[in-house]
Symmetry: C2
Subunit: 406 residues, 2 copies
């Protein structure tokens, strides 16, 4: 069994970096605060005798050697970056559970056959630099390194600049071929486990995602003298696109999702018809065909709406990930661990993207979900209980030991 207090303390210590007044965390990818989180994680891992590798996109790998020099590694991990108004558990729970597994093995002097490796992936959130899961995407070849380096934040900073600024552009070559199995513990970020009073979610896969940046251009003009029928109001278009996106998501239940998270009006004056609106679209689904259909439907809606309102538009895809169905053996290892530990459990689909979804394309992978309060995440009030955190970490320990051999 892992040490429940030690894990909790590590979580609370990490949550101090970027702590927000409402009890959350703002530690966005590749900021100086996130650099402090990385430094702390490395310091903890070194204290456990791990060797550290950092690759070209800043992913951090902390390794505890096994007895078999030829064995592939059994890996656990997640991410240290957060949303601007994020919580304490999203990401950190996975990384620090991996660390707690190593601490437990050290404490009990257990030697595994395969090496145990904990990874902190770069920029999982994707909110500062789209897309999400950038580090694991580059690691697995799903995302192109050069293209990702050139991605910019809203303030114009590139990933490349930001990596250099925090000195986390590494030169270690870590290959997906080194992975025997990958497990990622995470809070569910949704309401299902709590609703059904279940402790462990055995994650069978995750929704595919399509993200777009949309710019609508009309003509800014005076809100008073410009008759309604002569307007080219970019905001009228943006409102209709938002509704269309939501309608399309509702038309694809139970798995469809549609969200407009960002919107900026130009010039943003109360008595000026907006001449330009920039907005983001986030669409998700469990079936590849349905996700395609949704993408086509929203593209057609944008075209029709813009034509009707005399607007020009630019619709730029910023992420496009197929749904991921996890490795049956890894999923089963999670299920068996929960059973062994006599924890209530159920199969579940992840609505959020996770690094495990990219890793799963190049190596056997699965995830372990625990409940979070009211299903709320990406919010400062995100909360999980010490009991659930402990349970999730124990399932990880068992699944990893099973895969690594003692």
């Amino acid at each position: 069994r892992t040490d429940s207090d030690r894990l909790w303390e590590a979580l609370m210590e990490m949550a101090k970096l970027g702590a927000t007044p409402k009890g959350g965390v703002n530690r966005q990818a590749l900021t100086d605060l996130e650099r402090q989180g990385r430094d702390l994680f490395i310091q903890w891992c070194r204290a456990e005798g791990c060797t550290i590798r950092i690759d070209n996109i800043g992913n951090i790998f902390a390794r505890r050697e096994g007895s078999d020099p030829n064995a592939k590694a059994v890996m656990a991990g997640s991410h240290l970056d957060s949303q601007p108004t994020g919580g304490k558990y999203d990401g950190c729970f996975g990384v620090l559970s991996g660390l707690e597994v190593i601490r437990t093995l050290n404490q009990h002097n257990i030697t595994t056959q395969s090496p145990i490796e904990v990874v902190a992936w770069t920029n999982e959130e994707g909110c500062r630099f789209p897309p999400c899961m950038m580090g694991s995407g580059v690691f697995t070849g799903e995302l192109e390194f050069d293209a990702m380096m050139a991605r910019t934040a809203a303030d114009g900073v590139t990933v490349s600049d930001a990596l250099d600024a925090i000195h986390y552009r590494g030169s270690d070559n870590v290959s997906p071929d080194e992975i025997k199995a990958y497990f990622e513990p995470h809070i569910e970020q949704g309401p299902i486990l709590e609703d059904t009073d279940t402790t462990i979610g055995v994650v069978i896969g995750g929704l595919g995602q399509k993200w777009f940046d949309l710019t609508l251009t009309g003509l800014e003009a005076h809100a008073g003298p410009t008759p309604m029928n002569l307007r080219r109001d970019a905001m009228m278009g943006a409102a209709e696109v938002t509704q269309a996106l939501n309608r399309i998501a509702f038309d694809h239940q139970p798995h469809g999702r549609g969200t407009v998270g960002c919107m900026t009006l130009h010039p943003g004056s109360r008595n000026v018809i907006p001449g330009q609106v920039k907005m983001t679209l986030d669409m998700r689904h469990w079936e590849p065909e349905a996700l395609e259909t949704m993408g086509q439907a929203v593209t057609a809606a944008v075209e029709e709406i813009c034509q009707r309102h005399g607007l020009e538009y630019h619709l730029e895809p910023t992420a496009n990930f197929a749904p991921e169905y996890f490795d049956k053996a890894c999923v089963d290892a999670v299920r068996q661990s929960a059973k062994q530990l006599e924890l209530s459990h159920m199969d579940i689909i992840s609505g959020a993207g996770h690094d495990a979804m990219f890793v799963g394309r190049v190596a056997p992978a699965a995830m372990i979900f625990i409940p979070c309060k009211d299903g709320i995440s990406h919010n400062e009030i995100e909360s999980a209980t010490p009991e659930h955190v402990h349970a999730g970490c124990n399932v990880l320990l068992h699944a990893m030991l099973n895969a690594a051999g003692v």
Copy 2:
């Protein structure tokens, strides 16, 4: 006749203060740039021998005495502040036409019976500090001085702070009773004069306005795992309110207007359901009853939409002006001047709010419109021809001389 080149030069000189790359002006109310515009205007008026008065809200009155010490003043004016992406003519054309009338009288040594007075009203645009026409509103008692002093910009600065920062809180008492007649030349800011190839708009009045600040509060949550039917998405509400406002305006044609000019999403992350949206609503109409109906309809729509989406809301009125119907004699003076000068002219309703609409409630007032290119205003590409500017200023000269007596 006024001097067409001299007026044009003054307009271009003033347009240098806050000039934007696209040929427009950003000289928002009570900023240091607008202070420079005020200083320049006063310098020009002093050079013409005018006496300057500044009242408690920063309105500037420049006076050329008449022969009759007991006569009330014949006034012209408008404003020097601009939109963030405003043009060279909105406001300045009126103020500098008034100055050009004084320059013309001086040049030809003409003594009028009534004093001639030119006024630059504070914060006509209302974009930095709502509502619009703040200076003339306080002057005429339509707006309460203390309440206006406490109005804040988006960055938290109050009108009171901003007035002090630019040293334009005056102590002169200027009374509406001093006004014999008030004329305000302005670009139309709409397409009608240009469409009908007419030089002078004889403005018979202006649309009433209702402005609101609306805050919608839902629950921020993760865009992936949160099912569509369990969301409290503030942006869904904002999109529907935008559409409702537009529909209500379309239902009240030809005079109804509805505009959402500002919208801010919180937290503004592409994979977070917005927990809060702040937006502005601008509604206008020519008939008081119709404006009331529109206000009630939008309030009811907000209530219904919020209930349906599980949102809380705060709907705060920031401006509420009845439509204004100008003084028949003043309107006729404008019409007769256009006739005398053999300029094409037509009666027209102002869609924009103007200081004349407040002055008209306490003294005889009217306005003179000239065309602007493509009807575009509140846009850096706002444009007017020297011929139309000259024509408008000549109509002002004639109307003022008629009212003042020579």
